[in-house]
């Protein structure tokens, strides 16, 4: 098909593409706000309207599919005027609180405001009096910023967000009958910065406030070391592990360790546990994603027994760090995470050890970006630091935890080795949604899930026939933690793909690949006496109704 945009022929156009998609590919600017690759086209903001020859009205580029011979004009004085008006109207319902916003810097609304000479305060804020809510102290929702695009309703995996009538208007409100699982997907899908994680961004200095003599120990999650590059304008998919380590040292970290080293513990314990299971215990379900665990505890308590009792990597490593420290009470452990839900996880009392909470603070990738900016760290000129010893030498397999499929892959490869003494050579375990292999004559059937609505379908099937799989990996977020709720904005399909690419590159660069070959890990592992206390946890049924506070 051929179409024309602004007089220029574009000939590689495929059926089903929208005008906006074609224009993006061709680097032709059309402003857009409400469209996002993860949600269905709603066409509500109306800033993307363009002229299509032969049509009386302007059409939304995000919602209009191309046809052969279509002629599109993206800019004319009337279109500019309409975009300006619609933007001014959007600002009239959006209370700007830029200091404290996940979109700062890089806000599209503000960019378009400049581009279209918008008077941001042409009207009084309609939502001036709208409330600021907190979901369980973990996710904050400032409804006075909402521009009613409804993206959050669609991405919320548990339908915790709803539309409710208020006078003649509808507005987004949290459900009074459900729980939030703190996945943070609402945060990186809201074009107006209405959501943020607890602590964003007033809390970024908290980890350093414990007093002079505290030893401040950072640990970095796998999926954070690629995405941090986006905070500083580097190419998508760039691995910035070294710069991130150096930056953290500059802002005051005494030690910087690798969460993936903790993942080796998780891998080892999960593999052992799996091999001990009887048929009745199956399938084993992974536990690394706290949103997923909360989802089961709140909505499907019957399945609690199926979740592995092994703790997630940063929790294990946090506890190990304190356990092996000369002065555990003096150590502050801070995890850099792509995740909002990890902020919730560290508050779980079940995880306390004799040294208290294994992890004291969680900072999202966004927060670390802000921390560096506030401290005037010139990220691009930082040198390539290296992890401190002894918790720095992770295996390649454990880096893969950051992308969907990685947790299960590591655990099963390790189990296979423990059982047979050989490596599992099949590469497909990484990529397939469902996969099976033979282990000493036994067939192991696996499944990976990312997205909780998929989990609901699976539970329905399992209620009928519990014997479908041996091992299931669950991640709340699309693509796994590379698409986590603590990742930079924007997060979309293309960006997730590039993060995945970077993560694979990082995993390959590791000297040892399989966990069983990681000698450093074995050394530390053997030093830990009370493995039960440090590596295992429990789960309990939780209220399926959220605690909502007004801030």
């Amino acid at each position: 098909m051929i179409i024309k945009i602004n007089g220029k022929n574009i000939d590689n156009v495929k059926e089903g593409e929208t005008i906006l998609e074609v224009a993006r590919r061709e680097d032709i600017e059309i402003p857009s706000l409400c469209s996002h690759s993860d949600v269905c086209v709603r066409g509500s903001c109306r800033v993307c309207v363009v002229e299509v020859k032969g049509c009386k009205d302007y059409l939304p580029a995000c919602a209009t599919e191309v046809y052969d011979g279509m002629e599109v004009i993206t800019h004319n004085p009337e279109i500019q005027k309409i975009r300006k008006t619609n933007l001014e109207l959007l600002f009239s319902q959006h209370k700007e609180e830029c200091d404290d916003c996940v979109w700062n810097p890089g806000c599209k609304l503000l960019y378009l405001a400049r581009r279209y000479f918008v008077e941001i305060n042409k009207f009084d804020d309609r939502k001036e009096e709208y409330p600021e809510l907190s979901f369980g102290g973990i996710v904050d929702f400032d409804s006075s910023k909402c521009i009613d695009c409804r993206n959050c309703l669609e991405v919320c995996p548990v339908s915790f967000l709803e539309m409710e009538g208020r006078g003649h208007l509808f507005e987004v409100t949290p459900s009074k009958e459900k729980a939030c699982v703190y996945c943070g997907q609402c945060i990186n899908h809201c074009p107006a910065g209405s959501f943020e994680a607890d602590g964003e961004f007033q809390g970024v200095f908290k980890p350093f406030e414990g007093g002079e003599d505290k030893e401040i120990v950072f640990q970095i999650a796998p999926a954070a070391r690629v995405s941090i590059s986006e905070e500083f304008g580097l190419d998508l998919g760039t691995v910035s592990t070294g710069k991130l380590i150096s930056g953290l040292r500059k802002v005051g970290a005494d030690k910087v360790f690798d969460v993936s080293f903790g993942a080796d513990f998780t891998t080892h314990e999960e593999a052992k546990e799996f091999l001990e299971q009887t048929e009745d215990d199956l399938p084993v379900m992974t536990s690394c994603c706290p949103s997923w665990v909360r989802f089961v505890e709140c909505f499907y308590p019957d399945f609690i027994d199926k979740i592995t009792n092994v703790r997630s990597p940063h929790i294990i490593l946090g506890a190990v760090i304190k356990e092996l420290s000369q002065n555990p009470d003096n150590v502050t452990v801070v995890s850099v995470m792509p995740c909002v839900s990890k902020k919730y996880e560290i508050t779980r009392d079940e995880l306390k050890t004799r040294h208290g909470r294994p992890v004291d603070h969680v900072l999202t990738v966004r927060e670390v970006g802000r921390l560096f900016r506030d401290k005037n760290i010139d990220f691009l000129s930082l040198d390539e630091g290296e992890f401190d010893n002894p918790f720095g030498a992770a295996s390649g397999n454990s880096i893969s935890y950051g992308a969907s499929g990685g947790v299960m892959e590591a655990a099963l490869r390790h189990a296979y080795y423990l059982k047979t003494g050989n490596e599992l050579m099949d590469e497909n375990i990484k990529n397939r949604e469902e996969f099976s292999f033979e282990m000493n004559g036994r067939k192991i059937r696996t499944k990976k899930i990312n997205g909780l609505s998929e989990a609901v379908h699976l539970f329905e099937k399992l209620q009928e026939n519990p014997n479908l799989y041996d091992y299931i990996e669950f991640m709340s977020c699309e693509g796994g933690c590379i698409g986590g709720g603590g990742q930079p904005v924007p997060t979309n399909e293309r960006i997730r793909r590039s993060r995945r690419r970077g993560l694979i590159e990082e995993a390959k660069s590791k000297k040892v690949q399989p966990t069983h070959a990681n000698k450093e890990f074995k050394k530390i592992y053997n030093k830990i006496k009370d493995k039960k206390e440090l590596f295992y946890t429990t789960y309990t049924k939780k209220s399926p109704i959220e605690k909502i506070d007004t801030n």
Partner: protein
């Protein structure tokens, strides 16, 4: 001659105000295999329009006949009669007694916009009665993604007339306001507004203006502009010019629209709100009004917002003079 051909020859246009050729919808549907649905839209949400009510009161058997003829000709699997709440009370029993085919009666959502065809589909599916993106058009993917034919009550009435060779090119006009004979009249379908007023003996002796096409979606015309046909909803409301206040009218229309729209798109949700706010606080910023009207007319999501823009535009122009 078969019915599809007859409809084509009669050049029947939809009577809901959209004036879409009935024949074309039918052709699209007849090309489809598999499940097909039909909806008779009795939402009649326009203030001051009561043609459907009049027809259902006086000749409901023709409407039902029209529906049942279509069910047969187009091989429809399931049919729905969508009615606003008060009509449901009035006509449900009567209609059920007339049905010989299986037709389910559904209650309309309360919002005004819920009468628009994709909103009707949403509402019958059990969702909020708000519009969907077109395309796909209902004839491609309507109810539960199956091809769906949707006509309003009067269209089915006309279909019945055509099927039974009784059609004489007439339609129903609804006359109201400052007139002697407020009523529904069956007249030639292409009359000008002036002729309609004359033929129904309603032509005012005083200086007047009219609203053509319904109380919310109707355009305002001065008495010099009435040599046009009613090419939206056939409804004419007459106002005494001396007593007419354009700004008050804008105020009341924007208030109704604010309550009647679906709040989905920016110009309609926020724009109408801001016009209403401006008028309520007593100032009149013509530039602002014009800007918002342009955004409404040319960039709204659904016909409601676009029509709202045109209506407000017609009032703004009357006020200018």
């Amino acid at each position: 001659m078969d019915l599809i051909q007859k409809i084509r020859d009669a050049n029947l246009l939809g009577r809901s105000g959209s004036r879409f050729p009935v024949f074309e919808k039918w052709v699209r549907l007849s090309e489809k295999d598999g499940k097909k649905f039909l909806i008779c839209n009795g939402a009649e949400g326009e203030p001051g329009v009561f043609k459907d009510k009049y027809i259902l009161n006086n000749e409901p058997e023709k409407v039902v006949d029209g529906i049942e003829k279509v069910i047969e000709v187009l091989d429809i699997n399931k049919s729905f009669f969508y009615l606003r709440k008060d009509y449901l009370k009035l006509f449900e029993k009567k209609l059920k007694n007339l049905f010989t085919a299986e037709i389910a009666i559904k209650r309309k959502d309360d919002r005004y916009v819920a009468g628009e065809e994709t909103s009707v589909i949403n509402s019958i599916e059990g969702n909020r009665g708000e519009p969907k993106i077109k395309p796909p058009y209902p004839t491609e993917q309507g109810l539960w993604n199956h091809p769906t034919l949707i006509h309003n009550v009067e269209t089915f009435y006309a279909i019945s007339e055509i099927a039974n060779d009784e059609y004489k090119g007439k339609k129903f006009y609804c006359i109201s306001g400052a007139v002697k004979n407020e009523d529904v009249f069956k007249l030639d379908k292409d009359l000008t507004v002036r002729d309609v007023l004359i033929k129904t003996e309603n032509y005012p002796k005083f200086d007047f203006l009219v609203q053509v096409g319904g109380g919310l979606g109707g355009i305002f015309l001065s008495s010099q502009e009435i040599d046009v046909t009613c090419n939206r909803l056939a409804s004419v409301k007459v106002f005494d010019k001396k007593k007419f206040d354009e700004k008050e009218k804008m105020k009341s229309i924007t208030r109704l629209l604010m309550h009647g729209n679906c709040d989905k798109c920016t110009p309609c949700r926020e724009g109408i709100y801001r016009i209403n706010e401006m008028l309520n606080s007593g100032y009149y910023d013509r530039d602002l009004l014009e800007e918002i009207i342009l955004a409404l007319e040319k960039s709204s999501y659904c016909p409601l917002g676009k029509v709202a823009g045109e209506v407000l535009n017609s009032l703004m122009k009357l006020y200018d003079n």
